[in-house]
């Protein structure tokens, strides 16, 4: 449809959660209001995540003459864009995202999973169909036998994008061969890593691609039911999924005799109540069965005995979103990207202290440095990045010295981190590595299901040692205990959560041991992050005595008379840092 527009405008407003959070809905509304006066044919439509989340709210204006991308659009800017660009024919240059920025952000990416994100209207099945949607399903049902589908997936080299990287084709084949009926296809959309939003963006921006992937999987494995286990914290994703399900059902893509073929497949949505551990496949199954989400020992693997004891294949959102593309374009096209063992592309949520944070998709094998410095544009502060946390709380920290590490499953695991589901947090020199380990461990120990001893108590004791270290009360002996605990928790925990929970500690210890030692031996936090180890000071020479800090200090730790340099009473100071952030003269110093 879009290519048929000859003398009309198309305005797309990014309305995934990132866009909405930045005021996208209001911008959309403002366009609606202002476009009432525009005579020219204008199509205003919502779209998903365009990827440049740091520039939200994003508005894409296109006509036969070209495409313009506006960043940080707010309601006030809408009128001028309409007036000058649509009516006047002159793009508002100052608000346009510079072309070279778009180029450096986009040129290294290869968008397969995100092919439709930010392109189509996620609430319109017509848009999806226009972009070739459900053609892969049609092709599979029409021309491929189930085993041929599996073969195609195997050949493509697609590996589970949820984190473990298990070959998808193998999993499907095991499920296909397993004895038991009915068989289930589960889409794991219980994305819980702090800082990760890949699955959410895909579900919000292109829900049909996931449904189509599940349908193809169902056909390939001989399953008749699909369940999307999505966390209740993703209301927009659920809403768009439900809409997409309805649309697909209405078109006969889901239900009895899919596309008129001899294939029945129904898809249900199951909302998770927000336990991180429910992303672990056996716990996820327990949760769907209505039990407490606690992992159980594997084997038997879900492929053999899963939901209700039946063969079940559990794949991640991103994995499913890849499937239609592979079927449509062929395994070889997919395998052309990536490395020998890690084929295709991977979506990352680029976050932390990064200039251009957002959703990116890169071919496997690209180096970490390229992602951070070229796509992401380096750190926010402009200094060199210090480390990258990859794989969320189960992952690890990779130091800047290892920026050349190619992003593929094997190379990343050699560093001690994991590719994981795609959370990538960039840290600059202001990040304290002990604090980072503490943050992630706090998360995992809190989210442990409590079943096995090592994870439940071991990770807690590790956290307590980290807390002591960040308070300056740690000892070298305790550091040994920490390491010993970390090794044992990793080795002896029941499920992936416990087995990977020590990774942030182990990697920071591996690459930043000296930082730990400074906390322990000198009671100093080099990043000036650990509250107990820092002190706020007012530099008398810089302080004009404006009294702003005094006003903001919540504990009255600051004294000083007007126009005289102020001072902080370290005994009263709770190191909240408010003084430093309000000071206009940069007179508050941290030591």
């Amino acid at each position: 449809m879009a290519q048929n527009v000859t003398d009309s405008w198309v305005i797309k407003v990014g309305l995934a959660s990132c866009g909405i959070a930045a005021g996208g809905s209001k911008v959309f509304g403002a366009f609606k209001t202002h476009l009432k006066n525009v005579k020219a044919p204008v199509e205003l439509k919502p779209t998903g995540c365009i990827g440049m989340c740091y520039r939200e709210a994003l508005v894409e204006v296109s006509s036969q003459d070209g495409t313009w991308l506006y960043g940080q659009v707010n309601t006030e800017r809408v009128e001028r864009i309409v007036q000058e660009h649509l009516l006047g024919g002159c793009p508002v240059e100052e608000w346009l995202i510079p072309a070279d920025e778009i180029r450096s952000f986009m040129s290294r990416q290869k968008r397969i999973v995100l092919r439709n994100c930010g392109v189509i209207n996620p609430e319109s099945i017509a848009d999806y169909l226009d972009s070739g949607g459900y053609m892969a399903l049609d092709k599979a049902l029409d021309r491929l036998s189930p085993l041929e589908v599996i073969d195609e997936i195997s050949k493509s080299g697609l590996r589970g994008r949820g984190g473990a990287g298990f070959p998808t084709g193998t999993k499907w084949l095991t499920t296909r061969k397993a004895i038991g009926h009915p068989k289930y296809v589960i889409c794991n959309a219980d994305e819980g890593d702090p800082g990760a939003f890949m699955d959410r963006s895909v579900l919000e921006s292109d829900p049909h691609s996931v449904l189509e992937g599940m349908l193809i999987a169902g056909y390939a494995m001989g399953a008749s039911q699909g369940i999307i286990y999505v966390r209740a914290e993703y209301p927009l994703a659920i809403q768009r999924l439900e809409l997409a399900l309805q649309q697909a059902r209405d078109r006969g893509f889901i239900g009895r005799e899919v596309m008129g073929r001899n294939f029945d497949f129904e898809i249900y949505i199951r909302q998770g109540a927000g336990a991180f551990v429910c992303g672990e496949e056996t716990a996820l199954i327990m949760s769907i069965e209505g039990k407490r989400g606690m992992p159980r020992l594997r084997p038997p693997y879900p492929s053999q005995s899963g939901l209700w004891g039946r063969p079940t294949s559990i794949n991640n959102v991103e994995t499913f979103a890849n499937v239609p593309w592979i079927i449509s374009n062929g395994a070889d096209a997919y395998a052309a990207h990536g490395t020998v063992t890690s084929k295709g592309t991977k979506v990352f949520a680029l976050a932390g202290s990064i200039k251009r944070g957002g959703l990116i998709e890169v071919p496997m094998g690209i180096s970490l440095g390229e992602i951070v410095n070229e796509i992401g544009g380096g750190t926010k502060s402009g200094t060199d990045f210090k480390a990258v946390q990859l794989g969320g709380p189960s992952g690890g920290v990779i130091p800047a010295e290892m920026a050349a590490t190619p992003v593929d499953y094997e190379s990343i695991s050699r560093t001690g981190a994991i590719v994981g589901s795609g959370g990538m947090i960039v840290m600059d020199e202001k990040a304290c590595m002990v604090d980072v380990a503490k943050f992630f461990l706090n998360f995992t120990q809190d989210e442990s299901c409590g079943k096995c001893t090592f994870c439940r108590i071991g990770s807690r004791r590790m956290l307590e040692i980290l807390e002591k270290i960040t308070r300056g009360e740690g000892s070298e002996a305790e550091l040994d205990t920490l390491e010993e605990l970390a090794q044992e928790v990793k080795k002896s925990s029941l499920c992936g959560l416990g087995q990977t929970a020590p990774n942030p500690v182990l990697t920071t210890l591996k690459y930043f041991r000296d930082e730990y030692m400074q906390h322990i031996k000198l009671q100093k936090c080099p990043a000036k992050k650990c509250q107990a180890l820092i002190q706020y000071l007012i530099v008398a020479e810089k302080c004009p005595g404006c009294g702003l800090c005094l006003k903001y200090c919540p504990v009255n730790a600051i004294t000083g008379s007007k126009k005289q340099p102020h001072s902080i009473d370290p005994a009263k100071c709770i190191r909240c840092g408010l003084c430093s952030s309000v000071c206009r003269k940069d007179a508050v110093m941290v030591i």
Binding site: A275, L297, C452, T453, R460, E484, L485
Partner: protein, 1202 residues
């Protein structure tokens, strides 16, 4: 069988296919530790203790959940695994808040089980209490008087009010035993022929002598003093330790010794060589520390200056010591106090204790100081003697210097420093220097060396000195200490010597791991804020005003005082201490819970949460066994996991109390818990824990006939558990209800009614009176005016005797019991007897279980568990019942029937089967006598049509009929209490025409709520059936009986239960009731009416009128012996655990009563009774062997008209 080969710890092994590594290892004799695994449950792999290494696996694997595979190479005990297990245990224990052992015991040098003996005192079990103390301390009367009580300082009761008077209780119970002449010495083992010489007869030597003598060794004690006792005799004045007490405890030990030599000093009168020559294999030096320490001040050697210990010794020897009017005693320890008090008691009016620190630093015990103050002893603190001035060689005055307290010294006390120029003098006539003692060790370099302090050097753990076979213990190896420390050392030395003599390696016992809540100071007193304050019982004393004489000052507790004081004990130590898997593993792996110390949960314990179950989540290790057994096995899910991560806790849902949930008090959670987090409440004033004895018997809770293990201490039942932990199921009736026996007040003699009151009499008199009364009724109005009522709790043997007395001695068939169901004519007619035709084990293999109006979960919980297991194993359940129970939710078909519709429902099913010819013609023709008549009868009867029954869905009936007819192994469950004869007939017919009776694995299970209803019906406790359920008019049966009994059997059928009760006071003139609370105060008036002579044999006597004419105290559960017959027809043996309080068992009473009635009971012991039963009762012809199942598998069923 399909076996797999594997390699276990380097050795080839085999095990069954399909088992886990844990099971496979066990089959090969290797036990892999686990906490979360339970054979009754599916594996969960939560605790991570059972991790093993399997070659090729990525990491260690949980043995409990990993299936064995062919060719596996398994290691179960590598260093890595041990490290992992130890860490898992240490992590668990780092969040395990509780005291395995009470802190008092941990503080006691001798390690006396203080909580244990206080608990026994509280329960009135004094001799058991004393025996428990004597396991660790053979001098309880002495220590009960002189112990400095390290225990009381650690008593958690300090956090509430004041510590329990632990030592006074020890003194009470040992004095009590002395006064009441209770034997206290433990059993002596047979002589070993080995000889031990003990040098020194003080507390260490005596203790060692006692424990070595118990082991059977030949002991000789050598002592340099005129009498044994050491410092206990020569250092402790008689007002603290009376000489008769001292002599008694010494005598109890010396009586066990081969030789005692007093006035015999080592090095003077004998030496090591002479001992060696005399054949002594081991020598223990326990010579104490009796030498004085000197002050090294001028005037120390003057006449009139005494050493503390020398002074006390002279007095102890009975010598006179002349003292002046003013005496100064130097020192702050107990010897100083003793010397000062002794001086006062000798009549000295002015005694002053001079001490260089203040009262707070005095090492003497507070009580002693207080006593001295009461006696008028003065104190001069912060003063140090410099010189004793003399006048003509006589003491004139003591020059001192004032002190002040400076910095703390090595002992933690503030060090006194002199104040220059503060010298002062006090006029005195005598000075007693009580500043300590030292060891006066003989020089014997070849035997031992001396340390810096002059003490004998030993290995402190084994008490071994340098030379082979030489040991030392007590003050001589430590310097002056306390009696209890010497006792502890003596015991330790005895253990080592015993090992040495046995040729074993001399090493100390493995100290069991004990988790602790921490030191007193570390515990938040708030934790104990809910405990009621009770003032500590004060020790009664002699009037403090009496100053002279050496009579004992402290008088000891009365029994009442001891009871109150014992009641104050908080019972801190864990009830599970003796059988805690977690603790055992802690010991085995040598763990330290402080290694990974961090936040420890301290959650309040709600003691009133449940009537029987006590949960302490502070001890929970989240193995989840309770949660899983409650949901997987019991199907209730009363407990669950709440919260996540470190905050996870096992709780009932929605914050309810356990008893507010659907908990049915089956107690299986208790049997599953590997530690002390879920415990049974003990029905005793104090619960222990103690090491318990146990015995297996049969649960009298219902007719299911479960085996139960009784765990008891002395004559108290402490808890009930399934025999062979983790294998069996029990219910509330088994685990908890039997414990009520502790609370029952029992009669100990027969009683007869005199002037409206019950009066105790001898057995003979009671038998005479009973027989006279009953015979009078028989002779005047005939046997039919007599009746016997029995409870369903009687054993087969008792029941047989009861009806034999009725029939043979009293010539009546009036036999019954209000709770005894009569024989069901329906079953009797069609199945040849009113009994089950299959076994419980058949439920497991049944493809269809039909439950007919059983209320399984309420009445037969254990059967319900079996049904539940069968369903999860693939059986189908059809439930026909009036009300829907939880198990009906698992039923394939659940149908509501009631009394009005039930027979119609059965008839409709029968009708359907006959109409559509779904009967087993082959079975019918071969096995059914009168089968033609039966089928004709069924066809003739106006059987109900399916659609004619109101409120019942005909489609369901068709389904039930088809399911039953097509099932290959169907079992029908029926409630024998409530099933009517017509229903029973219908059920029997259903089983018969489909061929589902008379062969193994199928049939009807008739459940009984009375624990021996089945047996008593078989024994002939019936007005119209003889033993063996033979009809009264069966001439063959009657003839056999008359032959055996040598007596006529009355031919007139007896009255029914209702008629008997109706007839009491009318046609019934004599009544013999034997039962277990069959008669209560509430219904006594029904039985004990004027005009009826009544005899009651019962465990519990009535507390208010009306009374029977004669009452015989019977034996109750756990006192009885004999057999029960369970609902499935299995003979279950009862084991006697306790002696009946009146001394006679029920069968003995019955035999004697029969003899008194003039009918000589030929069978007068259990063996002859059961022999007679197997002759008289046809189905029991194979005897009453435990576990024997008596079934009715007639070749031909008498169906109809026969």
């Amino acid at each position: 069988m399909d076996r797999l080969n594997f390699i276990l710890n380097g050795k080839t092994a085999t095990a069954n296919r399909g088992c886990t590594i844990l099971e496979a290892a066990l089959q090969n004799g290797v036990e892999i530790p686990t906490l979360c695994h339970d054979a009754r449950l599916k594996p969960t792999a939560a605790c991570r203790i059972c991790l093993v290494s399997v070659a090729g696996a990525r990491g260690p694997l949980p043995a409990c959940a990993t299936p064995l595979a062919e060719g596996m190479v398994i290691e179960t005990g590598t260093e890595d695994l041990i490290k992992t297990r130890r860490m898992a245990l240490e992590l668990m224990l780092s969040d395990h808040y509780g005291d395995c052992v009470a802190p008092c015991r941990l503080a006691c040098p001798a390690g006396i089980d203080i909580q244990g003996y206080i608990g026994l005192i509280a329960n009135g079990m004094y001799s058991e209490a004393l025996r428990l103390i004597m396991e660790s301390n053979p001098l309880p009367m002495i220590c009960g008087r002189v112990c400095p009580r390290f225990c009381e300082k650690q008593c958690r009761r300090n956090l509430v009010d004041s510590p329990v008077a632990i030592n006074a209780l020890k003194r009470f119970v040992s004095d009590y035993a002395y006064k009441n002449k209770i034997e206290r010495t433990a059993e002596v083992r047979p002589p070993t022929g080995r000889k031990v010489a003990i040098i020194g007869g003080g507390p260490a030597g005596l203790t060692a002598a006692y424990y070595l003598a118990l082991e059977g060794h030949s002991i000789a004690i050598f002592d340099a003093n005129p009498e044994l006792g050491g410092m206990m005799r020569y250092g402790i004045p008689a007002y603290r330790l009376p000489r008769d007490i001292l002599n008694k405890e010494i005598a109890d030990i010396t009586v066990l010794c081969k030789e005692v030599h007093c006035n015999t000093a080592f090095g003077r009168d004998f030496d090591f060589e002479s001992l060696h020559a005399a054949g002594y294999q081991a020598v223990l030096f326990a010579i104490g520390a009796q030498a004085d320490q000197r002050m090294r001040i001028e005037g120390e050697d003057l006449k009139g200056v005494h050493s503390g210990i020398g002074f006390l010794r002279e007095i102890a020897l009975g010598n006179r010591v002349k003292l002046g009017m003013k005496v100064a005693v130097i020192g702050g320890g107990n010897t100083a106090i003793d010397a000062a008090q002794t001086a006062v008691r000798l009549g000295c009016p002015d005694v002053t204790i001079v001490y260089r620190r203040t009262r707070d630093e005095m090492p003497a015990s507070e009580d002693e100081i207080k006593q001295a103050e009461d006696k008028g002893v003065k104190f001069c603190f912060l003063a140090a003697p410099l010189k004793v001035h003399s006048d003509n060689g006589r003491v004139k005055s003591l020059e001192c210097i004032s002190m002040q307290l400076g910095e703390p010294d090595g002992s933690g006390r503030r060090k006194p420093v002199t104040l220059p120029g503060s010298e002062f003098c006090m006029d005195v006539d005598n000075v007693i220097m009580a500043i300590g003692q030292s060891v006066d060790a003989p020089s014997a370099d070849n035997l031992f060396t001396l340390d810096r302090k002059g003490c004998i050097s030993i290995n402190k753990l084994t008490m071994q000195a340098s030379a082979e076979g030489v040991f030392a213990a007590g003050d001589c190896s430590t310097g002056p200490a306390t009696v209890v420390e010497a006792v502890a050392a003596g015991k330790r030395a005895a253990d080592s010597i015993n090992r040495y003599l046995a040729g074993a390696a001399v090493e100390p016992d493995t100290k069991p791991y004990s988790c602790s809540k921490g030191q007193l100071a570390d515990i938040d007193p708030k934790e104990y804020s809910g405990i009621q304050q009770i003032p500590r019982v004060e020790m009664p004393t002699q009037d403090p005003g009496i100053k002279a004489g050496f009579d004992e000052y402290e008088l000891g507790f009365s029994e009442n005082m001891a009871q109150i004081e014992a009641g104050r004990c908080l019972a801190c130590g864990c009830q599970k201490a003796f059988d805690c898997t977690l603790r055992d593993l802690g010991t085995a792996y040598g763990v330290d819970e402080r290694k990974y110390a961090g936040l420890r949960h301290k959650r309040p314990v709600d003691e009133h949460e449940h009537p029987y179950i006590l949960r302490d989540t502070n001890k929970c290790i989240l193995c989840g066994r309770c949660v899983r057994i409650c949901s997987e096995v019991v199907g209730l899910g009363a407990l669950g996991f709440v919260n996540r991560g470190f905050e996870t806790v096992v709780e009932p849902a929605l914050g309810l109390q356990l008893q507010q949930t659907n908990c049915n008090s089956c107690g299986l959670c208790i049997t599953a818990c590997p530690t002390g987090a879920i415990l049974p409440k003990v029905n005793l004033p104090k619960p222990g824990p103690w090491k318990l004895e146990s015995a297996t018997t049969t649960c009298p809770g219902c007719g299911t006939g479960c085996s139960i293990e009784l765990n008891f201490k002395g004559n108290k039942l402490v808890k009930v558990s399934p025999p062979g932990q983790a294998s069996a199921y029990l219910c509330e009736k088994g685990i908890f209800n039997q414990l009520s026996i502790n609370g029952i007040k029992r009669a100990t003699t027969p009683l007869i009614k005199k002037d409206g009151r019950l009066v105790a009499v001898g057995w003979e008199e009671a038998f005479q009176k009973a027989s006279r009364g009953l015979l009078l009724a028989k002779n005047s109005t005939g046997g039919s005016s007599l009746a016997m009522l029995a409870s369903p709790q009687l054993t087969n043997e008792e029941g047989f005797l009861v009806q034999k007395i009725a029939r043979a001695a009293l010539a009546t068939n009036n036999i019954g019991g209000p709770s005894l169901t009569p024989i069901n004519q329906g079953f009797h007619k069609y199945l040849g007897g009113d009994r089950s035709t299959c076994q419980y084990a058949d439920l497991k293999n049944a493809d269809l279980i039909v439950s007919y109006n059983c209320e399984l979960e309420q009445k037969y919980p254990v059967i319900a568990l079996m049904v539940r297991q069968a369903i999860s194993g693939g059986s189908k359940l059809v439930s026909l019942s009036a009300r829907q129970g939880a198990i009906d939710l698992m039923a394939g078909i659940s149908l509501r029937v009631n009394r009005r519709t039930s027979v119609d429902v059965l008839n409709a099913i029968l009708s359907y089967l006959v109409t559509y010819n779904m009967v087993d013609l082959d079975f019918i023709s071969r096995r059914l006598c009168g089968h033609k008549e039966l089928l004709a009868e069924l066809k003739q009867q106006p059987l109900t049509r399916l659609c004619d029954i109101a409120w019942v869905n005909p489609a369901k009936l068709v389904e039930i009929a088809q399911l039953y007819a097509r099932a290959s192994r169907p079992v029908i469950l029926v409630d024998g209490d409530s099933v009517t004869a017509r229903e029973a007939a219908g059920i029997s017919q259903l089983a018969l025409i489909t061929g589902n009776a008379g062969r193994k694995g199928v049939g009807i299970l008739v459940l009984r709520s009375g624990c021996n209803t089945q047996g008593l019906l078989d024994m002939g406790l019936s007005p119209d059936f003889l033993p063996g359920q033979a009809p009264l008019d069966s001439m063959a049966a009657k003839g056999t009986l008359e032959l055996i009994w040598q007596s006529f059997v009355p031919a007139v059928p007896g009255m029914s239960n209702e008629e008997i009760i109706e007839g009491v006071g009318g046609s019934i003139k004599g009544l013999l009731i034997i039962g277990n609370e069959l008669v209560t105060s509430a219904n006594a008036a029904t039985f004990f009416k004027p005009g009826v002579f009544s005899v009651l044999i019962d465990g519990v006597a009535l507390e208010k009128p009306p009374y029977p004419d004669v009452f015989f105290p019977a034996s109750l559960f756990a006192e009885n012996e004999g057999t029960y017959t369970s609902s499935e027809g299995r003979i279950m043996r009862l084991n006697t655990v306790f002696r009946p309080p009146a001394g006679r068992r029920n069968w003995e009473i019955l035999v004697a009563l029969s003899n008194a009635l003039g009918y000589k009971m030929a069978c007068d012991n259990l063996a002859s009774i059961s022999a007679e039963i197997s002759r008289a009762v046809l189905v029991y012809r194979n005897g009453l062997e435990d576990g024997q199942v008596h079934h009715c598998f007639p070749q031909r069923f008498a169906a109809c008209g026969i």
